[in-house]
């Protein structure tokens, strides 16, 4: 089961464009954007225990940086996207250095304030960002959906590989120790602020990368990207998919993004439905709906295999 499931996922992801075109392929493209955001946020919240409300803001920084560099700097899209990730990492470093000595609600509140300041700044700085109208951005290969999809898939895989490597590295072990008991870790030599900062900068960079990708597949970036509702959506996706599982959070993102399309008739009430879904998940499956479903599926497979005639 442990090998079959990821293999099936990879196969499904690779074959997706052959079965779904136009509208649903576009939904898949946006789903990959959220998958990168949700998995990187779940790394921060689930593995490190840091609740940041600035993840959508970092995506916005990546998106605007990449867009402006292509429009005004004449940079190629891949280079501009990399620069967007770098910009988000640098801002993450600044915000992190200021806030990561704080614990619990203080970090959440500070990052929330930062997000709002950024949204107001983007809206007000009309000459640079076109304010709330939004900035038109050149598309990847003139918006070829197949290329956009596989680019997103490659970035998503890159995110998972790098974050998984980080989790299983020396740094990852120390991060888990900090999450388990911060004072215990600090009194055994772990520089908790430095390691929190590493995690914050790395995940901010991936949020920035996702933002750059979004800008060049949608063709428009606006302050809507960094509004608090977007952050709520990322949070809902991560909790639904499982905070402690990068892949679970990513699948949660794709699932809820797809669900969003079906719930369009409910307009803004969709967020209320997502909120209810998060409450339901936290109450009945705090490790996430998808990890729980996976566990049941695994048990079912084991039983089924043990009953099968040999």
């Amino acid at each position: 089961m442990k090998r079959i499931f990821p293999a099936l996922l990879v196969l499904a992801a690779l074959l997706f464009p052959f079965f779904f075109r136009d509208y649903w392929l576009y939904v898949g493209i946006i789903g990959l954007y959220y998958a990168i955001l949700a998995s990187s946020w779940s790394m921060l919240a689930g593995q490190v225990g840091l609740i940041s409300f600035a993840h959508a803001a970092f995506a916005g920084i990546g998106a605007y940086t990449s867009a402006l560099l292509v429009i005004h700097g004449g940079l190629s899209i891949p280079l501009a996207m990399a620069a967007g990730a770098l910009a988000a990492a640098v801002v993450g470093l600044g915000i992190g250095a200021l806030t990561l000595r704080m614990r619990g609600p203080y970090l959440a509140l500070t990052t929330l304030a930062f997000s709002e300041i950024l949204r107001i700044f983007i809206t007000a700085e009309y000459q640079l960002t076109q304010g709330s109208i939004g900035l038109k951005v050149p598309l990847i290969l003139d918006g070829n959906k197949l290329v956009c999809y596989y680019t997103g898939l490659a970035l998503f895989v890159l995110t998972l590989v790098v974050l998984t490597f980080l989790i299983h590295s020396r740094v990852g072990l120390l991060l888990v120790a900090m999450r388990e008991d911060e004072d215990g870790a600090a009194t055994r030599g772990v520089d908790t602020v430095a390691y929190r900062l590493i995690a914050f900068v790395v995940t901010s960079a991936f949020a920035g990368l996702a933002g750059g990708y979004y800008a060049h597949v949608v063709g428009l970036v606006s302050p809507q990207m960094v509004r608090i509702g977007e952050m709520g959506l990322i949070l809902a996706m991560s909790v639904f998919g499982g905070l402690e599982s990068l892949l679970g959070a990513a699948l949660g993102a794709i699932f809820l993004q797809t669900l969003t399309e079906y719930l369009r008739i409910f307009a803004e009430w969709r967020l209320a439905i997502f909120g209810a879904l998060v409450l339901f998940t936290l109450k009945f499956a705090p490790e996430g709906i998808l990890p729980r479903a996976y566990l049941y599926a695994e048990r079912f497979m084991d039983r089924w295999l043990s009953r099968a005639p040999r």
Binding site: L173, G184, A185, A186, T187, R188, G189, V190, D191
Partner: protein, 241 residues
């Protein structure tokens, strides 16, 4: 090398947890830090290890003032501690728990960390539990693991907060022997404990706190008969207790 607490004061709102406490711990000493509940023993250890910043006074390691340093830097200067309620990393294996202090040190290579972990596992009698998650250990085993964790980097000073609490009598005797051995090897041990028989048996010097004030500092024999200790802590003579 001497660890000196010089006129340290710590307040929590209107409560003075430590009031101008001065005490020194010399190399190779085995000191018992005793006092009734709420007397400031754990607060003093928290101040020494950087979890609390003193409101007044200074803590020095040799000539260096360490009271402004964060906990990880104090640990790296050779001051290890355990907690009253064991702070082990529950969802990590015993071996991973042991690896963490060694990884932060950065001096040890991978195979050296492995060798050291095995050595420590044997010393703390957890050699068959290397892959067990810490949450599945008994209370006593968790105490031993915590001690093993700080021993990974061979600190000079060990500040042990209630290491015998909840430990099986047989295991307690082993733990006492282990601490005595570490002390003979040159470690300075500061032992906070309510287990008076153990404290009087293994400590060569006792420091007594009461309501954040240092009441007395001397040999177990002198402390045993000190009227102030009897009044403040034992409520009668130790023999009667």
């Amino acid at each position: 090398m001497m660890l000196t607490v010089d006129q340290v004061t710590k307040n929590f709102g209107g409560l003075q947890a430590l009031s101008s406490v001065s005490v020194s711990f010399r190399r190779g000493e085995f000191v018992g830090l005793i006092g009734p509940n709420g007397s400031g023993k754990t607060t003093l250890i928290n101040c020494i290890t950087g979890l609390y910043r003193p409101d007044g006074g200074a803590i020095r390691l040799g000539e260096e003032t360490i009271s402004h340093l964060p906990p990880h830097r104090i640990y790296r200067r050779g001051i290890g501690r355990t907690f009253q309620i064991s702070k082990v990393f529950n969802r990590l294996s015993v071996l991973d728990n042991l690896r963490i202090p060694a990884l932060t040190e950065g001096r040890l290579r991978r195979h050296e960390v492995q060798d050291r972990s095995r050595e420590i596992l044997e010393q703390i009698k957890l050699e068959h539990h290397g892959k067990t998650n810490a949450e599945n250990l008994s209370g006593g085993q968790r105490k031993l693991l915590e001690l093993g964790m700080i021993m990974m980097t061979d600190p000079r000073f060990l500040l042990l907060d209630e290491p015998f609490g909840g430990v099986h009598p047989e295991l307690k005797s082993q733990l006492e022997d282990y601490l005595c051995r570490l002390n003979r090897e040159g470690k300075t041990i500061v032992l906070v404990s309510h287990e008076m028989p153990s404290v009087f048996r293994i400590c060569e010097r006792l420091v007594v706190l009461d309501h954040g004030v240092l009441v007395t500092d001397g040999s177990p024999e002198a402390v045993r008969s000190d009227e102030r200790v009897i009044n403040a802590y034992l409520g009668g003579s130790y023999d009667e207790a």
